[in-house]
């Protein structure tokens, strides 16, 4: 069986498109299937971009929550391409 899944946090607060998606993608490249990435962002486009990215790349947005002054987007890695 595969190794236990990991959870990592990617802090993209203060950066705007395409910063959060670029940061998310860098974490995704290091992640394994089953891992969970928490993306922290202040960019108002981050949620819809993360959803579009996840749909296109075959991954899943588990949860989006509004924290005090940023968004937390939780993404489960279901598929690894390239």
């Amino acid at each position: 069986m595969s190794a236990p899944s990991a959870r990592r946090t990617v802090d993209s607060r203060g950066s705007f498109c395409p910063g959060p998606i670029t940061d998310l993608f860098k974490a995704y490249r290091q992640a394994s299937v089953g891992d969970v990435i928490e993306l922290l962002a202040t960019d108002p486009a981050a949620e819809s971009d993360a959803r579009a990215w996840a749909e296109k790349s075959g991954n899943k947005v588990l949860e989006v929550s509004q924290e005090k002054d940023f968004l937390k987007i939780v993404i489960e890695i279901d598929r690894k391409g390239r």
């Binding site: 950066s15 998606i21 579009a52 075959g58």
Partner: protein
């Protein structure tokens, strides 16, 4: 979800042809170059095969001597926060460029050379237009090493066949 179904899904994904995204970049002012790389780089993170074709003034982005000093012009750019006629005064282009670069830095936006290196890292292909090199007098030796190849219109049309394509 079981391992087996994960396996099957990823196989299905690979069976589908990869979608493509292409940009024809014909200008080298910052307000044109940034959107081209933002879209091409993002497309690559989403799994698109991504290409930028640099033609006319766009080729300056691939010119070793110019890539680090691209500018934005206030002339013919009514969105700039100054009367258009003032944009023609000496020093205005430098000032507008400094202002834009300052703003970009504030929002942690990478510089153009950094965008290029991100693009390469993500697998975006950079194509130089052969005719432009001839017309603008840019020899092959002046191109940055990140350039993938020097191509003509026919090759670009072949590459962009079936792609989402933008002209900037």
């Amino acid at each position: 979800m079981t391992t087996a179904s994960v396996q099957r899904e990823s196989t299905d994904a690979h069976a589908a042809p990869q979608q493509k995204f292409c940009v024809v970049l014909s200008k080298a002012t910052l307000d044109m170059v940034y959107p081209a790389f933002m879209l091409a780089n993002t497309a690559a993170t989403m799994g698109y095969e991504s290409h930028i074709f640099f033609t006319f003034w766009g080729l300056q982005v691939l010119d070793k001597k110019k890539v680090a000093s691209l500018k934005v012009s206030p002339v013919g750019n009514p969105g700039m926060p100054m009367p258009n006629i003032l944009g023609m005064l000496p020093g205005m282009t430098a000032m507008a460029t400094r202002m834009l670069k300052g703003k970009m830095k504030q929002v942690k936006m990478p510089s153009i050379p950094e965008m290029i290196s991100n693009a390469k890292d993500l697998g975006v292909k950079l194509h130089a237009c052969s005719t432009t090199m001839d017309v603008m007098g840019v020899p092959k030796e002046n191109l940055i090493p990140e350039v993938d190849d020097i191509i003509g219109a026919a090759t670009f049309l072949q590459i962009s066949s079936g792609a989402q394509t933008l002209f900037i």
